[in-house]
Chain length 509, copies 2
Amino acid sequence: MRLKAVGLIFLMPCILFAQSSVQQKVRSFRQSNEGKILQEFIGLLSIPNVASDTKNIRLNATSIMEMMRRRGLNPRLLEAKTSNVPPIVYAEWKTPGAKRTIDLYAHYDGQPTDPKQWTETTPWQPVFRTAALEAKGQIAATPTGPPINPEWRIYSRSASDDKAGVMAILTAFAAVKETGSAFSSNIKFVFESEEEAGSAHLGEIIQLNKELLEADAWIICDGPVHQSGKKQVVFGARGDLNVDVTIYGAKRPLHSGHYGNWAPNPAMRLAQLLASMKDREGRVTIAGWNDDVEPLGELELQAINEAPQYDEELKKQLGISLTEGAPRSLLELINLPSMNINGFASGDVGALARNVIPTTASAVLDLRLVKGNDHKRQFERLVNHIRNQGYLVLDREPTDDERSKQVMIAKVTARSGGYNADRTKMDLPIALSVVEAVQSTTSDKIVRLPTSGGSLPLSVITQNLRTVTVSVPIANYDNNQHAENENLRIQNLWDGIETFAALMTMRTP
Amino acid sequence: MRLKAVGLIFLMPCILFAQSSVQQKVRSFRQSNEGKILQEFIGLLSIPNVASDTKNIRLNATSIMEMMRRRGLNPRLLEAKTSNVPPIVYAEWKTPGAKRTIDLYAHYDGQPTDPKQWTETTPWQPVFRTAALEAKGQIAATPTGPPINPEWRIYSRSASDDKAGVMAILTAFAAVKETGSAFSSNIKFVFESEEEAGSAHLGEIIQLNKELLEADAWIICDGPVHQSGKKQVVFGARGDLNVDVTIYGAKRPLHSGHYGNWAPNPAMRLAQLLASMKDREGRVTIAGWNDDVEPLGELELQAINEAPQYDEELKKQLGISLTEGAPRSLLELINLPSMNINGFASGDVGALARNVIPTTASAVLDLRLVKGNDHKRQFERLVNHIRNQGYLVLDREPTDDERSKQVMIAKVTARSGGYNADRTKMDLPIALSVVEAVQSTTSDKIVRLPTSGGSLPLSVITQNLRTVTVSVPIANYDNNQHAENENLRIQNLWDGIETFAALMTMRTP
């Protein structure tokens, strides 16, 4: 590592210079086209993009194919065998004499969202604000040309996660091509549409198109830059599995006066069950939870140590005064498997609350996995924990007979699309090239991380192809990803275009 | 008691005879008018009746006043001082020479409800079914005349709770009057419209109309008959208080991958907090919770012992195999204060669930109180318990300063309209008269209970007037009161009419 680090430092000055010229051209191109770029982006954001909404997902695919054709690419859809599965949008650009092939990956589907929870705007009617909502940003008219304030934000589902990736990649391609800069690799564009639904068909589609999708590396554009605003390169992602848990009370809702104190309350039982899974300090108490964790190597530990310490600033911004797992830092903790309650519900709260004992209580859990974990094994640990709390665990509704014999019954099911964590070695040549290319676009020292806390189907890619993955995220960290009021800071899109232009023209072996 | 019981038995034969004649006439009247009665009831049920829906609540009041005018009564509205408070509908019937005045009380407002949770039908479009939903009852056309199957049910919000009370009382009045039977008391009709919202203005309206509302007893028509189907007379009700609890996490929703394991999850903290309030056996663990309970007297204990034991049958029907507080019976347990989770919510479950750490988690608690409890003192015990779990307890949103200094913050607020329990002595002359009248309408031995598990603003009445209350419920016990798919079995309405006709003509001192 030391040797290679020296090599990197040695090469930096000339690389910086070479890239600088491309960067300058790409920047000019962007500056001359800001209005058009945003208009095209708004058009894409206006199409609802939840993976289960098959009709609209295909409209997104059509729209992206049109964007590709406008850039001189020849796109096609890669389909799963089953019908009605959202397709991958694919295109390739051959660079004469190129010795390296890179797949540029982003996804165009977004997390489900409840429009009612958004503030003033709705998920698929993109709106500009003069700043973040939290900073009292006001709704503003869509800017049509310069000067466009790069601190403005676009509020829309997938503005950051991950149509920003699609937009940055395709605009970087246009900029490099139109300004006559030299591509250094063969480039394959892979835009997935089931990432937020667990990438359930990604492996199948890769298997069906192995030759087409082969590459020396997949460069993943998804997720946020570092909280400090510094660009980052991430060498892995946690694995992920969602689990649904339902606890059963009486078969019909009961008046909480006439039966309260007597009929078991499933909300209380679920509260007791969930409370048994973490201690007061936020440590997961499920037996064996951290047993399989593969320890970080020297390079990974060093990268974490070099990353900016940002926890105190984050806590201030988020209005929290004690974190789970303290005193360990965020960057340490995302290298452990987690158990998060995404949501729970029983009966109603607020104006619709009634004096009842609900019939069921449900929670959705999010299990994050790190290198060494297996999602099926982790699920089994959760199920065993629930059994050990005294529950009959089923994967379906209980029968009357089971209800009559069992005191406590839980339905526990893993959602489809769970996958394991993946991590690429930080000293591979391609890894160093990517770091070098991203570093060439900024005078700030970029952050390198062994893994992101978030998940990407990296293991699905590396299990089905002989390749590696490196992630180069571009979104602002405070983007409300996965939640209501998702947004993208415009400057992050501009920076992302330059980053991906640098990757398309980076030094090859 | 023994002496009085002997007196009761001695009087029974002639009373039975006398009432029998009235009952026969009332039954004939009802049989000749079943279609019309149901038509009038359906009309009343069709008007939405959540207390906060001030416009529709007044349409209900207008409709009830029309029903009263059709019966030769001269109704009026009793209003609170504040505008927009739902009014009481009042009328009186003077009986020449009567030595007793009774107020007949029911309420015409209903619990809030989410139409989406109803099965096939909606709350305010009443529909007949050939049996209970649980028994696979099918939707059927509105019957217009005999023969009407009395086992059919009407599905609608307030079909049982408590427009059934309004309907039974007014139809019983029509039946007694039209058949020339003799009223034995002065009768005042008091139909409240804020009972499901905590009767927040009942005390004020009573104070403003003290003379008008004075009576020897208020007879309350609300709630279900015994689970065995037997008629019952209930001498008290639990008090009630609803409490909202909200726990705070980060100020904006966070990606559960990027921040899971590090950012505190308010859903987990609420689960831990709620879990601390009851043990695994369902006993409330809040300090002092049962301290103020006034022990039951000999008469009350005897009544409970004489009541049919129905717990095993109930457990079978409800699909539960162990009850909270076992081995104590339902009738014992409703004589203790309770703590029930009416509902909780954080993030989303089901199709809308996302991989986020929610910003807040909320629960609505229902505290039931028994004789001896004070609702303000019980609320303080709850607040103290939450403080003892390490929370800063506020009655508003936390400030940024509080967030930065406090590890755990809870907003805890009592909803308006809390009130205490009330219980009438079972050996008062009016109590014995009521028991005798209700008993005269059935060959089954009626059930007498010291209290219902459910609540009624009895203490508001007895604190503001020198009177006593006795409850005579009529609805089927499996009526889904307060929940979706509320319903009334038609025979229970027919029985209720006969019961209230008996009360209007009962023996006076």
